[in-house]
């Protein structure tokens, strides 16, 4: 039938898929053309402003996408409830802050711990037993969707559908050099998000646990035969994914100003786009993919109405699936 078969692994070790100099130049030329188009459309200040906004959104997407990708890579589970983990983090912070009277930073830390517990708890209650029974892909996907419903609507049941806000300053802003502006909260959100992302990279690169997580996400069987305690590392992955999702939820809720129980499901599409752009299962890929999606969505507002941002994210998702489904940042991998 067709020449392009998805089941075949592309680029085995020893057979690196070399991209020619032409292809590399073409990539550079495309980047230059895109930059020129951006400048022509918006002018330098607008482009710089959109870049600042894109970095804020992108850093949050990256935080959410890393955990989604690691969970997929190690468990072959698309956690459709991951977006609702972000919502859970935001509402947990709201509860600890406004309900229990904790200061916002302490409330945020409580929220991260609570989201990590949610992830680990579901691993022990649902995912581990299901893996032990050899559950199929459809079972796992539908259970993840069911979990997403339970989490989202349990939050809606308790907190109500009306928009909420965390106790952050949403009016003050800083003037940056060159006539750019950034909201005070957005600046904090961006700084914290990139600091945590840098820590995530260091953790994944240098620590033994980080390497084990990446190894598991890359190839479970290989990791197991080389002595990785998979059960333990999977728990760590869920806790790690939960902390990052909780943080992303708190930061997103802060940057947005107000949020409702659907906030996580809406962001999930951008997270999927980030994970696929980066190569499903790759942690670094998801990180770069998240920042890229944030930038692309904000840059798109220079050309088209801001309401189409999410549609742009979807266009990227379909384009990547069509052109290079293994993703752009994850290296060569199986599909």
């Amino acid at each position: 039938m067709t020449g392009r078969q998805p089941a075949v692994s592309v680029g085995r070790p020893g057979l690196p898929a070399r991209r020619g100099a032409l292809a590399r130049h073409r990539g550079a030329a495309a980047a230059v053309a895109a930059a020129a188009a951006l400048l022509a459309a918006g002018g330098l200040v607008d482009v710089a402003q959109a870049t600042v906004n894109g970095l804020t959104a992108g850093a949050i997407f990256a935080l959410g996408a890393v955990g989604l990708s690691l969970v997929y890579g190690s468990l072959r589970l698309i956690n459709f409830a991951h977006g609702d983990f972000l919502t859970f983090g935001a509402y947990a912070a709201l509860l600890a802050n406004a309900g229990l009277g904790l200061p916002l930073v302490a409330a945020a830390l409580v929220a991260l711990a609570a989201t990590a517990l949610l992830g680990v708890g579901m691993e022990l209650a649902m995912w581990r037993p299901m893996r032990a029974r050899g559950a199929g892909a459809l079972q796992l996907i539908l259970m993840a969707i069911g979990l997403a419903f339970v989490v989202r609507y349990a939050i809606a049941f308790v907190a109500g559908p009306e928009p909420r806000r965390l106790g952050v300053d949403v009016t003050s802003s800083y003037d940056l050099p060159g006539g750019l502006r950034i909201g005070q909260t957005e600046l904090w959100v961006t700084v914290i998000a990139f600091a945590v992302l840098a820590a995530v990279v260091v953790l994944l690169r240098s620590s033994s646990l980080g390497k084990q997580m990446r190894a598991l996400s890359d190839d479970v069987d290989l990791a197991e035969t080389t002595g990785v305690d998979t059960g333990r590392v999977i728990i760590v992955i869920w806790a790690f994914a939960g902390v990052l999702a909780g943080l992303a939820g708190v930061l997103y809720a802060s940057a947005l100003g107000s949020f409702d129980p659907n906030v996580g499901f809406i962001i999930l599409l951008s997270l999927f786009a980030a994970v696929i752009l980066g190569g499903m299962g790759s942690a670094y890929g998801a990180l770069l993919g998240g920042v890229t999606i944030g930038l692309v969505q904000e840059w798109s507002t220079l050309f088209i109405d801001v309401r189409w941002k999410l549609v742009v994210g979807f266009a990227v998702l379909v384009a990547v699936l069509t052109l290079r489904p293994e993703g752009f940042f994850g290296g060569e991998r199986r599909l």
Binding site: M1, T2, R4, P6, A7, Y72, R76, I78, F80, M126, P129, M130, G134, A135, G136, A137, L138, Q139, L140, I141, L142, M143, I145, G146, L147, A148, F149, V150, R152, Y153, A154, A156, F157, G160, P161, F265, L269, F272, A273, I276, M280, D305, R307, W308, L310, V311, F314, L317, V318, L321, T322, P325, L335
Partner: protein
């Protein structure tokens, strides 16, 4: 105890059962498409509501904006939904099922955003009205012919919805038993074996997806007539997941199960409206979705072939 009682009088009213009956037929049609994809072909279509939305809006826009006749708009809108399925399926059906699942759920959400944002064409959140005049004429004359009381005004739609369901049910049942249907199940069971026989598994998956798109569009027309007003909120992703709950309650791989599942789930969902609990309307609505979530989790954990499904119809693989 009185707070937990169900006000049974609601169940005695014919309007309740007419409304439930129409929604059961609409959801059953939507779910027939899912059954063909999931139960027969093993492709994980999580965006079925997208085709319902594309069909309904294509019909409404053709009638209201382009001035087409209602009857001419139906086949055209069906073709548009099929075109969407083919365009979405072409790049994504070659990939592993997980990518397809993500792409379809994203597709359905994006359809909804586009409807919401392209307000010049679709009316956006304001919705679109006035597409069902041709149908209203027929419904009114049917109502007069049958001598129906005003509160039974929806009976003609109930009849049309169930006739449509019966026709599509018969067509899909026949297709499922045809050589084509056997090939779909072969693709579900072992795609490599199908390829080894020289058959194009990808083409069968694409055809199955296109048929589901057409069937989804038909459910969209009936929903449009039932609501007589289209807005993006009628096509939330949750519609697909309620449809999944019906699918697995009825059992995977069974078309009769679809109708049974749609009936059970719809009656339970509508019945919760009459539960007299000390809760706000919004909390009851949340409870309905929590219930759907629990059905999905528990049925998949305990009986993955579906409550009424047969185990041998569903060989579960990773």
């Amino acid at each position: 105890m009185t707070t937990l009682a169900v006000s049974l009088s609601a169940f005695g009213r014919p309007e309740f059962w007419i409304g439930v009956g129409i929604l059961v037929a609409i959801y059953a049609i939507l779910t027939l498409g899912l059954q063909l994809n999931i139960g027969y072909t093993g492709i994980y279509n999580f965006g079925q509501v997208g085709f319902m939305a594309v069909g309904a809006y294509a019909m409404a826009v053709l009638v209201v904006e382009a001035g087409w006749s209602f009857w001419a708009s139906l086949p055209a809108a069906t073709l548009i939904a099929v075109a969407f399925a083919v365009l979405l399926g072409l790049p994504t059906l070659r990939l592993r099922t997980h990518y397809f699942a993500i792409a379809t759920i994203a597709f359905a959400e994006i359809v909804r955003y586009v409807i919401q944002n392209a307000d010049g064409l679709t009316g956006g959140s304001q919705g679109v009205l006035g597409f069902e005049i041709a149908w209203q004429t027929i419904a009114l004359s049917l109502q007069a012919d049958l001598g129906l009381a005003p509160e039974l005004a929806l009976v003609p739609l109930l009849i049309v919805a169930w006739v449509t369901l019966a026709v599509l049910f018969a067509v899909l049942l026949a297709l499922g038993r045809s050589p084509w249907g056997r090939m779909l199940r072969a693709v579900r069971e072992d795609e490599d074996a199908v390829r080894a026989l020289g058959k194009n598994a990808y083409a069968y998956k694409l055809q199955s997806f296109a048929v589901a798109g057409a069937v989804g569009a038909v459910s969209g027309y009936l929903l449009a007539l039932y609501l007589s007003f289209l807005s993006p909120d009628a096509f939330l992703a949750s519609v697909t997941f309620i449809s999944f709950a019906m699918l697995i309650v009825g059992g995977l791989g069974s078309f009769p199960g679809v109708v049974v599942g749609a009936f059970i789930v719809q009656v339970v969902l509508e019945g919760t409206r009459y539960l007299q609990l000390p809760l706000t309307d919004h909390q009851v609505a949340s409870l309905r979705y929590i219930l759907i979530g629990l059905v999905l989790i528990l049925v998949m954990a305990l009986r993955p072939q579906g409550i009424l499904g047969r185990r041998q119809e569903m060989v579960l693989r990773g």
